[in-house]
């Protein structure tokens, strides 16, 4: 049975999986995304993560990966194997031929490499294999460093002119908080883990107490990861609780706005924070949506991504096997 590689290229980590034709995960590996350097350095780490995963799957021990194809879910604008303006990736302001660079880094001439949008492939994975299997239309919301969405309409991905799904940049407060994108009042300005970390640091500098950064150091992190936020919530850190509640409020308004416009069947919450905080917070997001939903007598079901952390990488492997 042929095996496929799938890569989820995120701002914090690179997740690799090897799956078989039936989408069983044969092996997986994770590496931190380089925080300096450029696309070449990121490509090297992608190749290394994929080799780690292949090794875990019992493949490629002799150096030959022997995969039927490799898919990569990447941030940024994707066009036939090239990736442009990938925010949250180091030195990636321009256009980089990722597919070609990966082929060369892996020394796998002629293998089929497909690049897709990270959020869209994760949504496709939930639609085809996960929490969205029962629906023909859905909104996948990925809550992590940033906030992005994937859309399934009438059984197919919708990407518009290539830039659809920016639910993190739905405006919930005109002239509101500064977003990491430079604009104001976006959902991501309140709910993105990146913006939340900046906000927490500023409030701490102003004298507010929080254990967030102490926990970060104790766990040898350089950023406030989803795990750190979860720990801080668990020990009832007041500032962390406040910021997460503010994030949930912004997500509720933004997702309800998207539902008012699109009226799809269901919402799926994924991403680092979404998966980590799980069902309890999916329920809180649903509750925060309710006062803004136009069709409030039939609120959509809100599910947590069933494929969890691996959804993006599994979804990337599906790029090689599009639905007929």
């Amino acid at each position: 049975m042929p095996s496929y590689g799938g890569i989820d290229l995120g701002g914090t980590k690179i997740q690799a999986v090897i799956v078989n034709e039936e989408n069983s995960v044969l092996g997986s590996a994770r590496r931190p995304t380089p925080t300096s350097g450029g696309p070449e350095d990121v490509t090297k780490e992608i190749a290394a993560a994929l080799r780690d995963a292949a090794k875990a799957a019992g493949l490629g021990v002799d150096g030959d990966l022997n995969l039927a194809g490799i898919g990569v879910g990447s941030p940024g604008v994707i066009e036939s194997g090239n990736v442009s303006t990938a925010r949250n990736l180091p030195g990636w302001e321009g256009t980089f031929a990722l597919a070609a660079a990966l082929e060369s880094a892996l020394e796998v001439d002629g293998i089929s490499i497909e690049i897709g949008n990270d959020v869209q492939v994760a949504t496709d994975a939930e639609f085809r294999l996960g929490a969205g299997r029962a629906y023909e239309s859905l909104l996948g919301v990925f809550w992590g460093t940033g906030v992005g969405a994937g859309l399934i309409l009438d059984g197919k991905s919708w990407s518009g002119l290539g830039g659809a799904g920016e639910i993190g940049h739905i405006v919930v407060e005109i002239d509101g908080a500064r977003c990491t994108c430079g604009r104001r009042g976006c959902v991501e300005a309140y709910a993105g883990r990146g913006a939340m970390e900046i906000h927490a640091r500023k409030l701490q500098e102003k004298g507010r107490h929080t254990d967030l950064f102490k926990l970060m150091k104790e766990h040898e992190r350089t950023r406030l990861t989803s795990g750190i936020w979860e720990r801080a919530l668990d020990q009832e850190d007041k500032l962390a609780t406040e910021l997460i509640e503010r994030a949930v409020g912004a997500l509720g308004a933004g997702i309800a706005s998207a539902m008012n416009l699109l009226d799809v069947e269901a919402v799926i919450i994924g991403g680092g924070l979404g998966v980590r905080l799980g069902d309890l917070y999916a329920k809180r997001i649903a509750k925060a949506m309710q006062p803004h939903l136009f069709a409030d007598s039939r609120p959509p079901p809100v599910h947590v991504a069933a494929l969890g952390d691996l959804g993006g990488a599994i979804g990337a492997s599906l790029l090689l096997r599009p639905v007929a």
Copy 2:
């Protein structure tokens, strides 16, 4: 050549047209929407408007309408000829069998009567015959008593589970101004002509000067129509200018949010106020969108609805002639 009837059933007026197979308007008529009574009274006025239009077209003088079919664009939830919870129509909280009632009011047994969503049929008309002909995907925004949207995605209408297009209820200010829908911070709370009239009246009662209500009386209106707003703007009424600018700001944020999510090719501005205020205000809306657009290097073209005031009624007549 067969003729078709088209009705645009609005909160303020009922617009009827008779068109031929080539969508040339043979006759048209307009009646005010009853402000009291119930669905039966509205149905009578629809029938009367249609007879007026037929007369203007030189049809139906002997009482026989002789139409190949009639289409109605209606607010509310539409299901196989029934209309439910049509806001802005008198006494229409429940479900009413409009198609059957209209057939009986017109005494036209067996004629084909189709009911569609008012905003969606107006969008379809712009897509098939008007400002949207060049595109395969677009967002039609109808700015009038309320604010609604129609969506064309991949050459087809998108209505979700039946309630899509509520762009007027995208939240642009969490806990913001009270909307006529009862919620807070919706686009329509700032931009809907209904909400704007309530707001203008309150500010006048608080001592702010405006000629809006004087103009309304002079022109023998009972509401602040689009024409009254236009006159007030023309004579540089300060309060009217302020409220319209606030509306444009909310529309800009809401439409940009929708574009960030959907990334369609173009925006078309219709509706009573949209058509009346025309190109100058379409440009202002485009300018108000710009600071919120994620893909700000390629803002979508923003057009005024080319079919103007008759677009909704012409679009309703297209319900009888779906695209193959």
